[in-house]
């Protein structure tokens, strides 16, 4: 069959290219531009090659921030995923209470990041915050502005409060797609509650859980607003995660070169991890489809 050749069709893609160019490629290139140059002010730049990248790779500060970041993402995933599954398993399957739970659980997801931060910043204050005040009255020595453990606990609990719903809702959607016949067959086969979870519910949820983990990892890896509002990265640098550190460097110290190199590497790390996730997921799918 002869196909009509019409190269003019390429023009149809042009608007998208322009849009992506202005919204992503050009800003990214300015960052690339900064990352390979140095300046002594007055808007005069000179070539610095890969010096900033080498500096950043040798910088203890960046490795520390990366370490904190990984620990943070690891902890919130370890809490939110099992907790989300647990919540989803215990939600009503249908009727009024099912809708009620869904609405209730969506609420935290709808609150803007900085508001979440503010809520917890006030909530945890020892003088006027409900949580801080009650803890203090109970004799717990809690102070997130001075104590590293308290600061971490606050930031983690805040993230769990904010985002467990997302995991729960996705897991719930996965559970809802399981036909009744599976549960009936499991009863006939006398499978225990654990086996029902292990062999029916978990496999059926695997797909959505992968997505949930990927989303939560990416999002927590780039977290900025909430911990910034609550702890400002402190006490000291205890809760200074990658984004917070980056902003400190770029805007606080106006070290554009290092900050640009930093953000490019940050970007590459996220890209790399997403790619690994994607590969693992598609391989899982392939294994399924034999």
């Amino acid at each position: 069959m002869n196909k009509t050749v019409n190269q003019k069709a390429w023009f149809l893609v042009l608007p998208v290219l322009i849009l992506v160019g202005f919204s992503a490629v050009i800003p990214l290139m300015t960052v690339v531009n900064y990352s390979v140059q140095d300046t002594f002010g007055n808007n005069v730049f000179f070539w610095a090659g890969l010096d900033w990248f080498r500096d950043m790779l040798e910088s203890e500060r960046m490795w520390n921030a990366l370490g904190r970041q990984l620990v943070f993402s690891g902890i919130i995933l370890a809490i939110e995923v099992p907790l989300g599954i647990f919540v989803a398993l215990n939600m009503p399957k249908k009727g009024f209470w099912a809708s009620f739970c869904l609405v209730l659980m969506s609420l935290p997801l709808l609150i803007p990041w900085n508001v979440v931060g503010t809520i917890w910043q006030i909530f945890g204050r020892v003088d006027i915050g409900l949580l801080g005040y009650v803890l203090a009255k109970l004799g717990v020595n809690y102070n997130y502005t001075q104590n590293v453990i308290d600061a971490w606990a606050t930031v983690i609990v805040m993230d769990v409060w904010h985002w467990t719903s997302l995991v729960a809702l996705l897991a719930y959607a996965g559970l809802q797609s399981i036909p009744d016949a599976y549960y009936q067959a499991a009863k006939i086969d006398q499978a225990s509650r654990w086996k029902v979870f292990r062999f029916i519910e978990l496999p059926k949820m695997a797909g959505v859980l992968m997505i949930a983990i990927l989303l939560r990892f990416m999002d927590s890896f780039m977290i900025y607003t909430e911990p910034f509002v609550v702890t400002g990265g402190g006490p000291g640098n205890a809760t200074t995660f990658l984004s917070i550190d980056l902003v400190k460097m770029a805007l606080g110290q106006f070290d554009l070169g290092p900050a640009a190199a930093f953000s490019l590497m940050y970007f590459l790390v996220i890209l790399l991890i997403s790619w690994v996730f994607y590969t693992v997921m598609t391989n899982l799918d392939k294994r399924d489809g034999v």
Partner: protein, 364 residues
């Protein structure tokens, strides 16, 4: 193995059933004799799955009791009843291999590994999946999955009853026949009570010793295939069993004569006066066509040749009817009358069969 008794059983999916229509199962009293193979036949939505789920304990009946060998198990959980059930929708455990799937019910009951391996191999041979035992169940075709479901249902030898809920719907005709033969063999070998749900009459009639016909939440007749054919207890049975189903004509009945459309039709038995909406039913096999003479005026609308016999579609004074002629028998030239074999006529009042007088007299 056990005798299963349904005692005044009824079920509604609604919390507060009001009218008769709200009941998915109307009141039911029945004994499933130990070791017998039953087919449960009825059109879709008549309550067959509901009944099975109540027997296996997946569903608690709204009313009545269910007894195993006289022991009340109405509130006993599924596990305690020890029943195997295969569902219409194939269920396999995706992450397990075919063999693990088959072994699952035995493993859950803590059976001995050697015995499990033995049973799994035997069942795999029955369903023709010996080659695939090691393969993951995920991604198998629908009929392979259904075979695994079936296998899981048959793997336990000590069950009280085996319930099959339209298990062969997704399986191709040749395999269907083979699996049905296997099921019959299994019944022969182990003598389990089996209830096989289907809406396919051929399947029902070939599988079972006894066919239970359900209609609109009721059991309307229990009998051998022959009884269902000769003496349908309800017009639905007459219509549902046989192809085409029984012909029905509005009639007045008195003594040994029925009057249909002003024409007298002789009956094989004598009937006491019957009240309600009275009809006579006669299967197409017993409808005779002829030109002139006795009988009801009829017009042939179409003749269909279906291989072993011919189906003659008729218009009998505005009522559609069918007659069946053997392959070799020609349609009589100028046929404009039908008459019926008197002994093959059944009388119905409000859809239920009326017993003839002399039989009643004999029984009393």
């Amino acid at each position: 193995m056990a005798k299963i008794t349904l005692d005044n059983l009824a079920h509604s999916y609604l919390k507060h059933p009001q009218s008769d229509d709200d009941w998915a199962l109307k009141e039911l009293n029945h004994d499933w004799v130990d070791g017998e193979a039953y087919a449960l036949l009825g059109s879709s939505g008549c309550g067959k799955s509901t009944l099975l789920n109540i027997i296996s304990g997946l569903l608690r009946p709204s009313r009545g009791r269910i007894l195993f060998d006289g022991r009340d198990v109405t509130d006993a959980p599924t596990a305690e009843r020890n029943i195997a059930q295969v569902f219409q929708f194939p269920v396999v455990y995706d992450t397990m291999s075919v063999g693990e799937n088959l072994a699952f019910p035995l493993k859950n009951r803590g059976a001995d590994p050697k015995y499990i391996a033995e049973r799994v191999n035997a069942i795999a041979a029955m369903i023709g999946m010996e080659e695939q035992l090691k393969r993951k169940a995920r991604g198998l075709t629908a009929d392979a999955k259904q075979k695994i479901s079936l296998g899981r249902g048959m793997v336990r030898e000590d069950v009280n009853a085996l319930l099959f809920d339209e298990p062969l719907t997704v399986i191709d005709p040749h395999m269907k026949w083979e699996l049905r033969t296997q099921l019959k063999q299994l019944h022969h070998d182990f003598g389990h009570t089996m209830i096989y749900v289907t809406h396919d009459q051929t399947e029902a009639l070939t599988f079972a010793d006894k066919v239970v016909v359900m209609y609109d939440g009721r059991v309307v007749q229990i009998g051998t295939p022959q009884e269902l054919f000769e003496r349908p207890a309800h017009t639905f049975v007459g219509f549902f069993i046989g192809s085409p189903g029984m012909n029905l004509f509005d009639a007045q009945v008195s003594g040994t004569t029925a009057t249909v459309q002003g024409v007298s039709v002789p009956l094989g038995d004598s009937y006491a006066p019957v009240a309600g909406q009275v009809q006579i039913g006669v299967r197409p096999e017993f409808v005779r066509l002829h030109a002139g003479g006795e009988g009801l005026p009829a017009r042939i609308t179409r003749v269909e040749d279906v291989g072993r016999h011919k189906i003659v579609r008729l218009d009998v004074g505005g009522t559609a009817a069918n007659a069946i002629l053997d392959e070799g028998t020609p349609v009589p030239a100028g046929a404009d009358r039908v008459s019926f074999d008197a002994d093959a006529i059944n009388v119905y009042a409000d859809d239920w069969r009326v017993a003839p007088q002399n039989l009643q007299g004999r029984a009393a």
